[in-house]
């Protein structure tokens, strides 16, 4: 028999191509940006333009290619559905925002032109990450994103901190992806496939009568890989160093895009594998593991954040705490078997991305020249110096602290609701305690901005229009989301 009969080629239909447009556009734009980068004088502008154009087109095509029926390509190698669209949008937006934020900053800090290309690559990796149902493709997307981000982190070549951060991120991240990959093989071995749905169904079938250890091990290791990416205790160690070592726009990109898409991938995997009845719910072990991880993540993030003076480090710890809140939603989704919790997770992620992008845009504007390390002291007297900037920053911080009427409040509220509906009163109260503690360090910048006066020679904040634009947009979004949250929370419907 002939080769074609043995291995019939599975073609991609036209509407599947249409669904793929965003990914393709991002890929092309990243290549273009890479090619444009070395261009002598215009390299920077050109590659930024390529990134921007690609992102815009991709966004538009996303909104065009909205199809209610999910498109599955080659049996789930790539899946385009609501989830993937929402998270691709988040990824593209955060990439675009990061690009715009680094206008001006990159010259001051001598960042290479390739930054924009790398951002584009990372974004395309994120898109793959959130829109696949195949574990190895997921791994490919993860690596595509991670490699780009490793380089972006280590890019500031004058700074020791950047190099060190890049090293730490790379080594630990490599180990983590290896762990995840080992879990993938174990799942492959115990179910004979790499597709979420098949794994889920066959494991579910297997779980009916008894519980072999291998799939459990596989699930656990995949879960650990994800937890590392979202930065949950005890897989969090890299976060503070990497976030404070990387240059501010890059940190903004990581804290928003990288983390959000990791959450998205975890969400897909959870809702299709973890959350299957009988898997995680089979024994008490998973419940208590998750419970402890959430508890430690919440408390660690808020307690250690108390002692930070560097704003980037502070927000790094705060993002650890935020991971704890998100995991509350996953708790409800997996253990509590509440599918609606995914809405809470999605909207929280969206709100979280917006406020963090805004916050880091502000930090970009106030980051001192010599060390790209904005501290509380740099904020002193900002309220008099630049009232609108100060107002925006306090808006973002209050939103992170979860005070109405800001986006963060509703994100938190949705998660609390889902956790309560799963009957997790204890964890919710713990989350309340954590947010009270973290309120302290969210308020400290306000103290410096409004209640301390600045000494003149310390003032070194910039006025780049890019970051300012991001700040303004994020501020408006934060308020709008805080007043009309249901517009955004119903994105998944």
């Amino acid at each position: 028999m002939t080769f074609e009969q043995l291995f019939p080629i599975q073609f991609i239909s036209s509407e599947q191509w249409q669904a793929l447009i965003p990914l393709i556009v991002m890929g092309i734009s990243s290549v273009l940006a890479l090619l444009a980068a070395p261009w002598h004088h215009y390299g920077r502008v050109a590659s930024l333009a390529a990134l921007a154009a690609g992102s815009v087109i991709a966004l538009l095509s996303l909104s065009f290619s909205v199809s209610d029926a999910p498109v599955s390509i080659l049996g789930g190698v790539l899946v385009i559905d609501r989830l993937s669209q929402v998270f691709s949008a988040i990824a593209i937006l955060s990439g675009l925002a990061a690009g715009i934020m680094s206008i001006g900053f990159d010259q001051r800090e001598h960042l290479h032109n390739e930054l924009y290309a790398l951002i584009a690559f990372a974004v395309s990796g994120m898109i793959i990450l959130v829109s696949t149902r195949d574990l190895v493709v997921l791994f490919i997307g993860l690596e595509l994103m991670s490699l780009a981000v490793y380089v972006m982190v280590g890019m500031r070549r004058q700074a020791e901190g950047a190099a060190e951060a890049g090293l730490k991120y790379f080594l630990l991240g490599g180990a983590a992806s290896a762990i995840l990959l080992y879990g993938v093989t174990l799942l492959y071995g115990s179910s004979g496939s790499l597709k979420f749905d098949i794994i889920g169904s066959s494991l579910g079938r297997m779980w009916h009568d008894h519980t072999p250890m291998l799939p459990v091990l596989g699930l656990v290791m995949v879960g650990v890989g994800f937890l590392f990416k979202v930065g949950a205790v005890p897989f969090h160690s890299w976060i503070p160093d990497v976030y404070s070592g990387a240059s501010t726009p890059v940190t903004g990109f990581m804290i928003s895009g990288v983390k959000a898409t990791a959450i998205g991938a975890l969400l897909r995997f959870s809702s299709e594998v973890f959350a299957l009845p009988g898997l995680m719910t089979s024994g008490g072990g998973f419940y208590w593991i998750l419970w402890a991880i959430i508890a430690f993540t919440l408390l660690f993030g808020s307690l250690v954040g108390l002692r930070q003076t560097s704003l980037k480090r502070m927000l790094a710890y705060s993002t650890i705490a935020h991971t704890g809140y998100v995991l509350l939603g996953f708790m409800a989704l997996i253990i509590g078997q509440k599918p609606e919790a995914s809405d809470a997770i999605v909207s929280y992620t969206l709100f979280y991305v917006v406020m963090n992008l805004g916050g880091f845009a502000v930090l970009t504007l106030i980051s001192p020249r010599d060390t790209d390390e904005p501290t509380l002291q740099d904020l002193a007297g900002l309220g008099q110096r630049r009232p609108y900037l100060a107002f925006a920053l306090s808006l973002f911080l209050l939103s992170m602290a979860g005070i109405p009427p800001t986006a963060g409040f509703f994100g938190k509220y949705y998660l609390f609701m889902s956790a309560l509906s799963a009957g997790e009163l204890g964890l919710t109260v713990l989350a309340v305690v954590a947010s009270i503690i973290s309120a302290v360090f969210y308020l400290r910048p306000l103290v410096f901005m409004y209640m301390k006066s600045s000494d003149a020679e310390l003032v070194n904040d910039s006025r780049w229009f890019g970051s300012s634009a991001v700040v303004g947009l994020a501020a408006v979004l934060t308020v709008v989301m805080g007043i009309l949250p249901s517009w955004f929370s119903s994105l998944m419907k």
Binding site: Q384, P404, F409, S421, V429, A439, V440, S490
Partner: protein
């Protein structure tokens, strides 16, 4: 007419934004704008009062727009018997407070920010009082927190940073627990009825299970836990001893205008929450814990009074006196009887008026003299007769002299709570004596006797036109309510009776039989 409610809420907020965006050199406009806007709101409130029908029990001028449909949360505002006194009071007090403190802040930027933030606080307060949706209530409740935090932190006294953080954390902790409880209520409501609704009226109909056999006298049962969640927020804000630790330093450190707003309005948000939400939503728990809470309130009366007596600092003394008086309100509320609750509701307004007047006077003294040490004043009555007179009126109101508003509320509270539970009432009644002790002490140390150090140092000028206007208005309220309270009580009579009936359908169980008789 209906839209007036939303205007009352959003007009101050818009004005606040406008003021904040004033250019620096124009910041002198801030205060006039503030006064005009708040006066406009006051006019709205009076209009509503005119067309409010006391005979109708339940919500009037209802506004209901869907907000978060998936949780059944609506933008739902209305006037009813319970909130109209407080809405009126808040709306009328704000312009008076602006006028009264007109002479206290000089610098333009300070005026600008303070006015704007106070207007934001008015938005929050009015929203809290008006909202009929529990979630909306929470949102407005929280909105008020940040302006207060900033104001104290920016313009407070020497110890302002620590103070403002403490204030924020106490209240924030309470509110977050309330948020959890709210979430739980909404979820339970959805689970039990199928259709989600966050409207307080609907939530009143669901009965959470409460059995006192559960741990901690029943706190561990469902209703007990949710009760605790709400109680945490309300008791901290009111405050109920021993959750008051934030109060003395906050009232002392905050600038006068803010102190007035905190003491007169914010603490009422807590007591109003107890009246509107805590007791009606959790009747079993309320009935179970009322005696204990009455004891706590009575203790708080004495506690605050005793501490006020020994204070050296004028402002701190008045802060503790406020603690003592708020405890009267709580005592009346926990008596769960119509006259007790109306007395408490009236007492909320009374205390607001008196404390506002007192802190205004303190503010004027503070402006002239650098120390607020009681011993450094004296003999001011000679140089400032009007100031002395107005202070006297406020003092009389807060020692509950018959004929002043303070007596009405306090006496109704005492009678009602005595009927329910004699022990705490007797303890509380000693507050009459102790209250007289510290109030007269303050009056004497400042106004009477030979002129003290501060009294001699500066040349005291008596009240100006604005201050006189404010004080006359407040004093008129003091005497007017004191002499003819019924027209005021009439407003909330129906709603209060409905609330009481909801809490204990078989009526309050007095120790002795009651025969009501008009003559």
């Amino acid at each position: 007419m209906n839209q007036l409610l939303s205007w009352m809420i959003f007009l101050p907020a818009l004005a606040a934004l406008a003021i904040l965006s004033l250019p620096q050199q124009k910041s002198a406009w801030a205060r006039p704008i503030g006064v005009v806007v708040s006066a406009l709101v006051a006019v709205f409130a009076l209009l509503l009062w005119q067309s409010f029908d006391p005979a109708v029990q339940g919500a009037q001028f209802l506004i209901k727009q869907p907000w978060l449909p998936e949780f059944g949360i609506h933008f739902e505002l209305a006037l009813d018997g319970l909130n109209i006194p407080l809405v009126l009071f808040t709306a009328l007090l704000t312009p008076l407070a602006f006028l009264g403190t007109w002479s206290l802040q000089a610098e333009g930027s300070v005026q600008k920010r303070m006015t704007a933030l106070i207007l934001l606080m008015e938005t929050g307060a009015l929203g809290t009082f008006l909202s009929q949706d529990i979630f909306l209530f929470y949102v407005f409740w929280e909105i008020i927190l940040i302006p207060a935090y900033l104001l104290i932190g920016m313009y407070g006294g020497a110890d302002r940073l620590k103070t403002t953080l403490q204030f924020f954390l106490y209240t924030f902790a309470g509110s977050l627990l309330m948020l959890v409880a709210i979430g739980w209520m909404i979820w339970v409501q959805k689970a039990s009825t199928g259709t989600a609704s966050a409207s307080i009226a609907d939530l009143q109909n669901i009965q959470l299970n409460f059995d006192s056999s559960a741990g901690l006298w029943g706190l561990m049962s469902v209703q007990g836990l949710v009760f605790v969640g709400f109680a945490a927020a309300f008791f901290v804000k009111s405050p109920l001893v021993p959750l008051h630790a934030w109060l003395p330093s906050t009232y002392t450190q905050a600038p006068t205008l803010v102190t007035i707003y905190l003491a007169a309005v914010l603490s009422k948000m807590g007591t109003y929450g107890i009246l509107k939400i805590l007791l009606p939503l959790f009747p079993d728990a309320a009935r179970a814990f009322a005696p204990t809470l009455m004891w706590l309130a009575a203790f708080g009366i004495v506690y605050g009074a005793v501490l006020a007596i020994v204070q050296k600092n004028l402002k701190t003394a008045i802060a503790y006196s406020s603690l003592s008086h708020v405890s009267y309100i709580l005592l009346g509320l926990f008596s769960l009887s119509p006259s007790g609750m109306s007395g408490a509701l009236l007492q909320m307004v009374n205390h607001g008026i008196a404390i506002a007047g007192l802190f205004l006077v303190v503010g004027w003294l503070e402006k002239k003299s650098d120390s607020l040490d009681l011993s450094s004043f004296g003999g001011l009555a000679k140089s400032t007769p009007l100031l002395a007179t107005s202070l006297m009126v406020m003092v009389l109101s807060s020692v509950a002299l018959p004929g002043t508003n303070g007596f009405v509320g306090e006496f109704m509270v005492l009678v009602a709570s005595f009927r329910v539970h004699a022990g705490p009432t007797i303890l509380a009644a000693t507050g009459m004596v102790l209250g007289a002790v510290y109030m007269l002490n303050v009056y004497q140390k400042t106004m009477f006797g030979a002129a003290g150090a501060e009294g001699l140092k500066v040349s005291w000028s008596d009240l100006g036109a604005k201050e006189i206007l404010v004080m006359v208005a407040l004093s008129a309220a003091v005497v007017g309510i004191g002499v003819a309270p019924q027209s005021y009580l009439e407003l909330s009579k129906k709603s209060i009776e409905a609330t009481v009936k909801h809490i204990s359908p078989e009526g309050p169980k007095p120790e002795q039989p009651v025969q009501v008789s008009n003559f």
